[in-house]
């Protein structure tokens, strides 16, 4: 049941990325070259809904609909966060791909992106050599 709920949430997420054209590396790259600021609207819309959910749901429900507890996002600030983000930024600027958009890009039939996905798996594997 939980997997189904998460899979169906992924359906909305992926459809949203396709609708907003974030599955097209060209559109993301045109944002990064500041030719079309649409990505900020996508992120703003998503943050707005997520913020409402994270704030409101734990107040109006004792626990999630399928049980368990409401998790809260927490990360500590260390140099890994910043260094990793900078490396991710170079890759994002080179390819126009981030993880969610790359997965959505597979769904819209953009078969060359499979090469980008292969790169992401290889990069994720390489990072496991640097585990803390």
């Amino acid at each position: 049941m939980r997997s189904l709920a998460i899979y169906s949430g992924g359906l909305f997420f992926g459809a949203g990325l396709a609708l907003s054209a974030m599955a097209k590396p060209e559109v993301v790259l045109s944002f990064l070259q500041l030719k079309d600021l649409g990505l900020l609207l996508v992120m703003g819309g998503a943050v707005l809904i997520a913020m409402i959910a994270y704030k409101a749901l734990p107040r109006i429900m004792r626990r999630p609909a399928l049980g368990g507890k409401f998790n809260h996002y927490s990360r500590s600030l260390d140099k890994r966060v910043v260094l990793g983000a900078a490396i991710f930024g170079i890759g994002w600027g080179v390819s126009g791909l981030c993880p969610g958009a790359a997965l959505a890009s597979v769904g819209v039939g953009n078969y060359p992106v499979l090469l980008g996905i292969a790169g992401m798996f290889a990069g994720a594997y390489a990072a496991s050599f640097l585990s803390d």
Binding site: G45, P99, I117
Partner: protein, 151 residues
């Protein structure tokens, strides 16, 4: 200069739909879902090298979420008859992907993890991460296009 030459509706509606997906998962399971863990979680099916062990408890939801993203985009393309194949050069996709896959695991988050989940939770570390990857990506994209690499 036009800020949104392709219009704004599809960006706003798409963003709201992305946020709805995140909210939907939170409603049912209480999980704060980002996409970047998909790669490590999938790798952890085959090897437990290094910190890949840490995906033991989150593996199934991370993989279900990733597969849902692919399927959702596929369903959207079927319903609207709009498939797409990029012209961005293959070396850019591969080497960019390599750095993305590496960076998001070091940083523990990506555009959805730090960007959507982190910012909507008012996380300061995520704000730092977002400002870092945005500015580095903008510099990189400008540099590459100024070197004459198109697309």
């Amino acid at each position: 200069m036009e800020l949104f030459p392709l219009g704004v509706e599809h960006y706003i509606l798409g963003g709201l739909l992305v946020g709805f997906g995140v909210a939907w998962i939170y409603f049912w399971t209480g999980i704060v879902a980002g996409a970047s863990g998909f790669f490590g979680a999938t790798l952890s099916l085959f090897t437990t090298r290094g910190d890949l062990k840490k995906y033991a408890n989150s593996r199934s939801w991370r993989i279900a979420f990733g597969l849902g993203i692919v399927s959702g985009a596929f369903l959207f393309s079927i319903l609207t008859g709009s498939f797409f194949v990029t012209k961005v050069q293959l070396w850019r996709l591969f080497f960019g992907g390599l750095l993305v896959g590496f960076g998001v695991r070091i940083s523990r988050g990506c555009t959805s993890g730090h960007g959507i989940c982190g910012l909507s939770s008012l996380s300061f570390p995520s704000l730092v991460a977002v400002l870092t990857f945005m500015s580095v990506a903008i510099l990189t994209a400008f540099l590459i296009s100024n070197l004459g690499v198109l697309p």
